[in-house]
């Protein structure tokens, strides 16, 4: 069985948490005791209404305020597929938590309140979805019950969103009208939306092709840890432990160790102690090379026929996630997979305007939730791929050296 990781996004109160609650409820994935607990908590319990958003809004502060603050992860499966859901907050001040949830998603459901149409936060989350290169997007036009299930309302929102999708270059966009509260078009197709010809949300999630999200053509292996038992029996054992983030490795393959550029061949591949002839992403393995070379954590072993870029100056699209501003000239640690180097943000080229989606003149600093284009210089060379081409080796985080907090997400160009 395969796995689909998806996120719900969109503006405050568009119904993201309710939608997930409804998906879990209607697919019978909620346990009795959990249901009883949210029934007790629901405000309108006397009218027999249960607030399905309480299923994911698990923090005390969230329940008190009726909003989502941080991502909640939920799990369910159908006979077709296993799902990992990230329920993101809609509030602008918690955008970085949405980024966290979105970064691993294969698919994003962007909710739109049918009464309000496309709003600023819809665009902001769409920008993030596009920056993170999430392969599939479902635009869920929600609360159709509040607009009499009107096809015109739906059509107008589709036209509006299509403009956003076009200017962001979003591919694979699917539109579904629904009511999370009442369950229309969630698991079963709804009679009230008979004019809509596509599948229900769950049906779509079960069928959408996701294998294409793993790159199997460029072989990349960041070394995490070197296994050297140094016992008598295993005196010469030296295994490079890590996860293949993309591509396929075969015994005998010519490889290059970057950033040093040293050549060797794969002598053996182990998975959990067993030797195998080949291995592929996203397997965790141990690689052995023909030659005894100095390799340590942070180095990347790539297939020599599929070279990686190596540079000390990176053009990045950057999502700033800290309350302190990003000041050009400041130094940060840059971490890409297991490699950490010191770096400095050289200059900001432009800032993306969330409303017009246009490139605005460069500000002197970037502040929380800004999306900017910038140049970063690193203290030593970084082996990388362009994020758009190879997500698994093109994303880096910036860490504040003094607070140790993750402050930026970089999509290397």
């Amino acid at each position: 069985m395969d796995l689909l990781r998806f996120i719900t996004a969109g503006s405050v109160d568009d119904g993201k948490s309710t939608l997930i609650g409804r998906l879990l409820y209607d697919s019978k994935s909620i346990m009795i005791d959990q249901l009883e607990a949210i029934e007790r908590q629901s405000k309108n319990k006397d009218e027999g209404e249960i607030d399905l958003a309480l299923l994911t809004d698990g923090l005390r502060a969230e329940r008190e305020q009726g909003i989502t603050i941080d991502v909640a992860y939920k799990y369910f499966s159908t006979p077709k597929r296993k799902f990992i859901i990230a329920d993101a907050p809609g509030h602008i001040q918690y955008t970085r938590n949405m980024v966290t949830g979105a970064s691993n998603a294969d698919l994003a459901i962007i909710l739109i309140d049918a009464r309000n149409g496309v709003v600023e936060q819809t665009r902001r989350h769409s920008i993030i979805t596009s920056l993170l290169n999430i392969p599939h997007i479902v635009v869920a036009i929600n609360k159709m019950d509040l607009v009499d299930f009107s096809q015109d309302v739906y059509n107008n929102i589709v036209i509006d969103y299509a403009k956003v999708a076009q200017s962001l270059g979003l591919k694979n966009v699917t539109y579904i009208p629904l009511s999370a509260l009442q369950g229309d078009n969630i698991v079963e197709k709804s009679d009230k939306l008979s004019w809509y010809e596509g599948p229900s949300l769950l049906h779509f999630l079960e069928e959408v092709e996701v294998q294409d999200t793993i790159n199997l053509t460029e072989a990349r292996f960041p070394v995490q840890y070197v296994i050297r038992p140094q016992t008598d029996a295993l005196h010469d054992y030296r295994g490079y432990a890590g996860k293949i983030v993309s591509g396929v490795y075969k015994v005998g393959d010519a490889v290059t160790v970057q950033p040093a550029g040293i050549q060797s061949r794969i002598k053996a591949i182990e998975i959990a102690g067993k030797e195998v002839a080949e291995a592929f992403a996203p397997q965790s393995v141990v690689l052995h090379l023909e030659d005894n070379i100095d390799i340590s954590r942070g180095d990347v072993i790539v297939n020599a026929a599929q070279p990686v870029k190596t540079a000390q100056e990176l053009e990045v699209l950057l999502c700033w996630m800290d309350n302190k501003p990003l000041i050009p000239g400041n130094k940060y640690l840059l971490q890409i997979n297991s490699r950490v180097v010191r770096s400095v943000v050289r200059n900001i080229e432009y800032k993306l305007d969330v409303n017009t989606l246009e490139k605005n003149e460069a500000p002197s600093q970037a502040v929380l939730n800004d999306v900017i284009k910038a140049t970063i210089k690193t203290a030593s060379p970084i082996p990388y791929d362009s994020y758009q081409a190879l997500r698994a080796n093109g994303g880096a985080i910036l860490i504040d050296e003094t607070s140790h907090v993750t402050v930026g997400a970089c999509m290397i160009q």
């Binding site: 923090l59 992860y73 939920k74 840890y225 038992p229």
Partner: protein
């Protein structure tokens, strides 16, 4: 192409191994918190896959409340011995004496909350900078919110409103002196995933996970084992029932499930069909308040 497709259980396994190796690569003094329950036994199995033929880059650490099931303790000692890995045990009873803590009273007086003191002392004693745990996000609504690398301040506290962003599979384990990181490699596994994995990998579990005869009393619909740690009342009826455990915690706060399932296939069928969640069915301590888990975590609990 289709030859290069990974089943979901293999994907989860690989993700967990990757996380364990990140701990090894990023921290100087990590530890694996080991209780003898199925989740931590699964973690140990994953660590074998991550680090053999090398040794574990961390000791196994057990915070022993003194109220554990004997079967779980035996399994713990036996596993550590067969693997030849270091096991550190610290007792909550010792902390209670040394710090003159007040033992909770009552029928099911549980040391669960006091465990946090011993855990924090142990972290300080060995200067652990990372503690790996077997918590899963599907267990509880506060856990559903937690990062894989979860930073705790010097008092062990979790601040759910100020979690670090955590992007892709890039984990930032940088901390200030005195802080530590709790790491959860099987965050994305469900209860059923763990059982399916145990079946597939033929992992050995303590016998209490399988159906056996046990003396129990009924308490608010739950079956609690008769032991020296709970106080029987005159009205309690001691019954002998065929039970198994779905989770293994303290004898005072873990309830048994009536079941004839004596092998793993039967257990998986029962869990697939069940209508009650793991903690809901077996934990007496979660019922205290709506946010019981969140509050305990804020105080340094796992």
């Amino acid at each position: 192409m289709s030859a290069y497709r990974l089943d979901y259980l293999d994907q989860l396994e690989s993700e967990a191994i990757h996380i364990l190796r990140e701990v090894a690569g990023q921290f100087e003094r990590p530890a694996l918190l080991f209780s003898g329950g199925k989740d931590s036994i699964t973690l140990v199995h994953l660590a074998l896959k991550a680090f053999r033929p090398g040794k574990f880059p961390f000791p196994l650490v057990h915070i022993d409340t003194g109220h554990n099931f004997k079967e779980a303790l035996d399994c713990r000692d036996q596993l550590a011995a067969t693997l030849g890995e270091k096991l550190i045990v610290r007792n909550v009873g010792d902390t209670i004496k040394a710090k003159q803590l007040t033992e909770p009273k009552g029928k099911f007086a549980s040391r669960n909350a006091l465990q946090t003191y011993t855990l924090l002392d142990t972290i300080e004693e060995f200067k652990f900078d990372a503690c790996i745990g077997g918590a899963r996000r599907d267990e509880e609504k506060a856990r559903a919110k937690e990062r894989i690398f979860s930073v705790r301040d010097e008092f062990g506290q979790w601040d759910p409103k100020l979690q670090r962003p955590e992007l892709w599979n890039t984990y930032n384990g940088r901390i200030h002196k005195g802080e530590n990181v709790r790491v959860f490699p099987i965050s994305n596994w469900t209860e059923l995933d763990v059982w399916n994995y145990i079946r597939r990998e033929k992992i050995e579990l303590p016998s209490i996970y399988f159906s056996h005869d046990r003396e129990v009393i009924e308490h608010e619909g739950q079956l609690v084992a008769v032991s020296e740690f709970i106080q029987l009342e005159a009205s309690d009826k001691v019954l002998t029932k065929k039970v198994r455990y779905r989770t293994v915690g303290d004898m005072t706060c873990t309830a048994a499930v009536e079941s004839k399932a004596s092998n793993i296939d039967d257990i998986i069928s029962e869990i697939t069909a069940t209508k009650t969640s793991e903690r809901g069915e077996t934990r007496i301590d979660d019922k205290v308040s709506e946010a019981a888990m969140e509050d305990r975590k804020k105080n340094g609990y796992f």
